[in-house]
């Protein structure tokens, strides 16, 4: 993507095939997407072992069917920070200096920070920027996974924001005029994104995931971690009480955010779309719907994407929602190219 040598802007190159990689807690999710005449097609999908950020980074060898010249990466680490920041922005500037961003995100110098302008304030109004930060060490670790050869890293996003691109590809038409909430809930971290008429208005991260629920069940029921996972999967036992107690602070945060958005934006959040590993738990969506009194609907990042024959197995298709960030990162790469 270094287009200096070719005399073009880096972002202007048209890419036909991209690999999306999500370095998640339980697995590294990899997809290969092909774009042809505006149509997206899934040409490869796989789930590789999770990376260990505490170990030395070795070159990551992707399967041959997932090879591509460029890769769009998503980071799912618990230390990531995402936030909408509202601040004065000079007319000629598109973003803030890193020092100011670090202050607004409340992170130290050992964090890599970046921001994207969402809405420029008129007159003395503050501008709204979508900002994110991840530890520098983790950035270096991820880059060292691809030191040379394909895929060359083209972008690195926080997974809690990358999945929005996948949602927009799948359901943009459905909520173009509505206010909605997206929740991507993973193993240890969940992100929520409020959008009004297709524009991001609020983002947040919650230290809450499947692991939180398992730990609660382990504590409440006195079972081991494996059995707790099984109970969560098959709902063999009524765990509503445990779910309600552990989700109370989460639902409270979501409810407050929802009310804030509805008052601030003058709208009504019509639906909550859930994705991620937690959305596969049959009990969770129902509990969430009961708690925030809003319709909750799972969605699949494979919607509106053509799938090459024999690419996605039945088991992988059931797990498709876990690939929202990987697919979203690749789709974002196509939009930027």
């Amino acid at each position: 993507m270094d287009m200096k040598a070719l005399g073009k802007n880096r972002t202007q190159r048209k890419l036909g095939v991209l690999v999306g990689v999500d370095f998640a807690t339980t697995a590294t999710k990899v997809v290969q997407l092909k774009q042809s005449k505006g149509e997206l097609a899934l040409t490869g999908i796989d789930m590789l072992p999770a990376v260990d950020y505490s170990a030395t980074a070795n070159r990551m060898e992707l399967p041959r069917n997932l090879s591509s010249y460029y890769g769009c990466l998503a980071y799912s680490g618990a230390e990531s920070v995402v936030r909408m920041v509202h601040t004065p922005l000079p007319a000629e500037e598109a973003t803030l200096p890193e020092t100011e961003l670090r202050k607004l995100l409340n992170v130290t110098d050992d964090f890599r920070v970046s921001a994207q302008l969402i809405k420029r304030g008129k007159g003395r109004q503050d501008s709204s920027l979508l900002a994110a930060a991840i530890p520098q060490d983790d950035v270096r670790y991820i880059l060292n996974l691809f030191p040379a050869g394909p895929p060359a890293p083209a972008s690195l996003e926080v997974a809690g924001l990358a999945f929005v691109s996948a949602f927009m590809n799948a359901r943009a038409d459905e909520c173009a005029d509505d206010a909605i909430c997206l929740i991507d809930a993973g193993e240890s971290v969940s992100h929520y994104v409020f959008m009004n008429k297709g524009v991001v208005v609020l983002v947040g991260k919650m230290d809450f995931g499947v692991r939180t629920l398992r730990n609660k069940l382990v504590a409440d029921l006195g079972v081991d971690d494996e059995l707790a996972a099984s109970i969560l999967d098959d709902r063999s036992i009524n765990i509503s009480t445990s779910l309600a107690s552990v989700m109370a602070p989460i639902t409270k945060q979501l409810s407050i955010s929802k009310d804030f958005i509805e008052r601030h934006q003058g709208c009504r959040v019509s639906k909550v779309y859930v994705s991620g590993g937690m959305s596969l738990l049959p009990s969770w969506s129902d509990e969430l719907m009961n708690m925030i009194h809003t319709e909750v609907e799972p969605w699949s990042p494979l919607e509106n994407i053509a799938i090459a024959p024999d690419i996605v197995s039945v088991e992988m298709n059931q797990q498709a929602t876990r690939f929202a960030a990987a697919i979203g990162a690749a789709i974002g790469g196509f939009q930027d190219s």
Binding site: M1, V139, P150, A152, L156, S165, V200
Partner: protein, 208 residues
């Protein structure tokens, strides 16, 4: 509808990746012409060195041969001059009349009643410069004076030029002969005698 992306990679961390590596492109775009130029320069340098060596060798050979060539030219010029002289001399020699045959023919032709008192054959060359063999050809002049006597003295004197020209050598040496003068001889004698003088027209020699 596009959604905002917060890319945390810096521009310096982006790198090119394609079917053709940047190194290969660099080699293709930059190094190949340089190598080609270097190769052509080497070939031209070798050619220049070879030509320079050949030139040096040729100059040495020329230095050695030039005096010989000059000598050859001088000798050739002398040879040409000698050849020209030889041709001139040949022209001169070829224009020589045979005096023995000329006098023999005249002796055989003269009738008994005619007595020569003077026979003069003179030769000279027309040109004072001799560029061709023709310039060396001799021009002969004949003067015959004598006495004719007898009854047919006058007739014999008149016919003498014609009789002389009938001889082969005389005809080859002179174009024409004419009776320049004839008069009756005095002295009181009883016989009929005539003094006569026969001269030739100027003619370039070429008897042989």
């Amino acid at each position: 509808m596009s959604c905002p992306r917060v890319n945390l990679l810096k521009k310096s961390e982006l790198r090119y990746q394609g079917a053709v590596s940047r190194r290969f492109m660099l080699v293709g775009v930059v190094v190949t012409p340089i190598v080609a130029i270097a190769l052509l320069s080497s070939i031209k340098l070798v050619q220049y060195t070879t030509v320079k060596y050949e030139l040096k060798t040729s100059r040495e050979i020329w230095t050695e041969l030039e005096p010989r060539l000059e000598l050859y030219k001088n000798e050739n010029r002398g040879l040409v001059t000698n050849q020209q002289v030889m041709e001139l001399l040949d022209g001169w020699q070829n224009s020589q009349a045979s005096f023995v045959r000329l006098l023999t023919d005249i002796q055989d032709t003269v009738p008994e009643n005619i007595q020569f008192t003077r026979l003069s054959v003179r030769s000279a060359m027309d040109s004072s410069t001799y560029k061709s063999p023709e310039d060396m050809e001799l021009v002969y002049n004949l003067v015959v004076e004598g006495i004719s006597h007898g009854d047919q003295a006058e007739t014999e004197a008149i016919l003498l030029p014609r009789k002389l020209l009938a001889a082969e050598e005389v005809a080859a040496t002179f174009d024409t002969l004419k009776l320049a003068s004839m008069r009756k001889r005095g002295g009181g004698g009883s016989s009929n005698q005539r003094d006569f003088r026969v001269v030739s027209e100027i003619l370039k020699g070429g008897g042989q």
